[in-house]
């Protein structure tokens, strides 16, 4: 059953992609049994390297792919079951998505007004003037102006395009936004604009955000809680500060140690930790499970590892 604490709850989600038939059949476990919950008005960051399944998780929740197994609840209603028109409407009304690539995510043959206004049109708004008014209002909110409405996407810079993508997602007034690497394709000076904009909109509209990214600094800055993914598994979930101060899973530690910091003093002495699953875990006799090590801090570990992690937290605090 879904917990009332969470707006979005994912239980044992699996997404396998199969290719080939018979002997050549190859199953890729893009997402392999992950569970987490996102509280209302919270930002949950999902971080991991390319191919770890974080994007697939987001796309499965919004049903761009059908899950292989597991259940997803949104606001108490299951959204992972068989697709019906009613469910599709429920999903699209409540969850919107922001995509990574500012060039790819806008249709090159449509004007900005058509792109941003499409969600309104789909929801049955027919009055052209009203659509126009709301599109312009939204454009102003994301720092663009009326003149931009008639232009085509390729005339805009990356940051502007990403803001248009945000306008398209927010204009339909969703309760939740899944932001899939919204800043990683942008220039450094532009990333801050987009992050600030997302922060403002979140405050103003009380949005809940599932923030997917590979850049731990950005995720840490933007999110209340963070889930770390490695090869389809969620290995650690914690509040940002806890994760940063007490990284327990060896992969989280490796990830944290690898982030280059804009500080020449520390960079020159930085020690990197490697993560080698076979060396760092002994799962020959015990299987790892997700355990709450301290309040709101979950780690994927075996019972013996759990003892070790508990000990480490006790030392640190």
């Amino acid at each position: 059953m879904p917990s009332s604490e969470y707006l979005l709850e994912v239980q044992g989600l699996r997404q396998y992609f199969a290719s080939g038939r018979g002997k050549n059949r190859l199953v890729v476990k893009a997402v392999d049994d992950i569970s987490f919950g996102v509280k209302p008005a919270e930002t949950f960051g999902l971080v991991g390297e390319s191919g770890c399944g974080k994007t697939t998780t987001g796309r499965t929740i919004i049903r761009l792919c059908d899950p292989t197994a597991g259940r997803v609840f949104f606001d108490g209603r299951e959204v992972s079951g068989r697709m019906t028109n009613d469910l599709r409407k429920y999903l699209t009304d409540n969850i919107a998505m922001i995509f990574q690539d500012p060039i790819e995510s806008l249709n090159p043959r449509m004007t900005i007004e058509e792109i941003v206004g499409e969600g309104l049109k789909v929801r049955g708004l027919k009055d052209k003037a009203e659509i126009r008014r709301r599109v312009v209002e939204m454009l102003v909110k994301v720092g663009l102006n009326e003149e931009h409405a008639t232009r085509y996407p390729h005339e805009f810079s990356g940051g502007q395009r990403q803001r248009i993508g945000i306008a398209r997602a927010v204009i339909v007034k969703p309760k939740m936004i899944i932001a899939d690497e919204p800043v990683s394709a942008l220039d450094v000076s532009i990333q801050a604009q987009v992050i600030n904009l997302l922060n403002d909109l979140k405050e103003e509209l009380g949005l809940t955000i599932l923030f997917i990214a590979h850049d731990l600094s950005v995720v840490k800055y933007f999110s209340n809680r963070i889930g770390v993914m490695y090869y389809g598994r969620l290995v650690e979930v914690a509040k940002g500060d806890d994760l940063y101060k007490n990284p327990l899973h060896p992969y989280t530690r490796a990830l944290l140690s690898a982030i280059p910091q804009p500080n020449p003093l520390t960079e020159r002495t930085r020690q990197r930790v490697d993560y080698v699953p076979d060396r760092d875990h002994d799962y020959s006799t015990e299987q790892p499970t997700m355990v709450e090590v301290e309040p709101e801090h979950f780690v994927l570990c075996s019972p013996s590892e759990l003892l070790e992690y508990r000990r480490r937290i006790a030392q640190n605090v």
């Binding site: 990356g158 922060n199 731990l216 840490k220 490796a254 280059p260 910091q261 520390t266």
Partner: protein
């Protein structure tokens, strides 16, 4: 401010590559795109110079000019690139083969597109060796295996006969580095070599480049937009904006004592692991280089712009022997503008050693 003695000093010591007043434009039907608008810098033997800037700042174009691989619609309008007594802007394509890949190696951003997908990687490395060092194929094979070991490809014998698609992104980048090293170059140019890679892989590749640089006494030009990577790699840093170098200095000077408002903005616009406060975003977008703005190109996005910024291009003002910045804020008559609070706090934190995780 200007210092002419500096020129003589750099000539005497080990300057291996000297770029002076380089201007490169591109023809497009919208007009002439002024990609690089007069940059000058030196590369000394055994040092790493980072060129930092956003896309469109001209950093990639400048190294393409050095490598002689500009597209056909590019025009070198002026300037010189002195290497080994030759001006690379005037070297013909035929003679460039003697330099490119042999004396100057290049590592691209995307390792997959830099490798031939249907050629075994061993063959690709040996081919580079045969071409660059006129080795016979047998010698080349031994040398190639050695190179593969040097760039950290374990089990080189077996992997010698594999194809690029059988390698992960990080491994492919190692192969690209091996190929770049095949000619035994003295300059290595890295064009965002880790942007396409994951953080943990990136860290390993950076370590590799650093160790190769030390063991082979290479001089490295490192193009990137990631300040974290710059801090890790660079001895000196050139910050580029809108086709110009706006600030140049050692790593410490750039990170702890930045003088140009654009550098401030770059440093304070990205969160680090300890940032809590609102980010200081740079408003607006980089200028369209068909119509570069008059005066200081950054002025329209600068909260502390002076009237003269909109009229006249600032010259370089000298802050130390190694540290120059092109901003009117350094003029004696300019009002004192404090560093943004966010940045001040961050620099203090950085100097405090930043209790970083290890």
């Amino acid at each position: 401010m200007q210092d002419r003695r500096h020129v003589h000093e750099t000539r005497q010591d080990d300057t291996i590559l000297r770029v002076r007043d380089l201007k490169v434009s591109f023809r497009s039907y919208g007009g002439l795109v002024q990609a690089v608008r007069g940059i000058s810098f030196d590369l000394k033997r055994g040092e790493t110079v980072a060129v930092v800037g956003e896309s469109g700042s001209g950093k990639s174009v400048s190294i393409k000019t050095i490598m002689g691989i500009l597209p056909s619609n590019a025009i070198i309008e002026s300037g010189e690139i002195m290497y080994d007594g030759k001006d690379l802007t005037k070297v013909s394509e035929d003679d460039f083969h003697e330099i490119r890949g042999k004396r100057i190696g290049l590592i691209f951003q995307d390792p997959l597109s830099a490798l031939n997908p249907i050629m075994k990687i061993g063959k690709q490395i040996t081919e580079a060796l045969v071409l660059a060092q006129k080795m016979n194929p047998k010698e080349a094979r031994g040398q190639a295996l050695e190179l593969m070991n040097a760039v950290g490809i374990s089990d080189a014998e077996r992997r010698f006969d594999q194809y690029p698609f059988q390698f992960s992104g990080g491994m492919r980048q190692r192969i690209v580095i091996a190929i770049a090293l095949a000619g035994d170059p003295e300059i290595l140019i890295c064009d965002e070599p880790t942007t396409a890679l994951d953080v943990t892989v990136q860290a390993r590749i950076l370590e590799l480049i650093n160790s190769i640089k030390k063991s082979r006494n290479l001089s490295v030009i490192f193009i990137t937009h990631d300040l974290g990577v710059v801090a890790n790699m660079a001895d000196r840093v050139n910050v580029m904006y809108a086709g110009k170098i706006v600030e140049t200095g050692t790593s410490e000077e750039i990170f702890f004592d930045p003088a140009h408002p654009y550098t401030w903005a770059l440093l304070s616009s990205m969160p680090d692991l300890e940032t809590k406060e609102r980010l200081l975003a740079i408003p607006g977008t980089p200028p369209n280089m068909i119509f570069p703005p008059k005066g200081d190109a950054f002025a329209p996005r600068n909260k502390n712009a002076l009237k003269i910024d909109l009229e006249m291009e600032p010259p370089f003002f000298k802050l130390s022997e190694t540290h120059y910045a092109a901003t009117w804020l350094l003029h004696p008559k300019a009002p004192k503008v404090e560093l943004p609070e966010v940045l001040k706090a961050r620099i203090a934190r950085m100097k405090g050693g930043g209790e970083l995780h290890a």
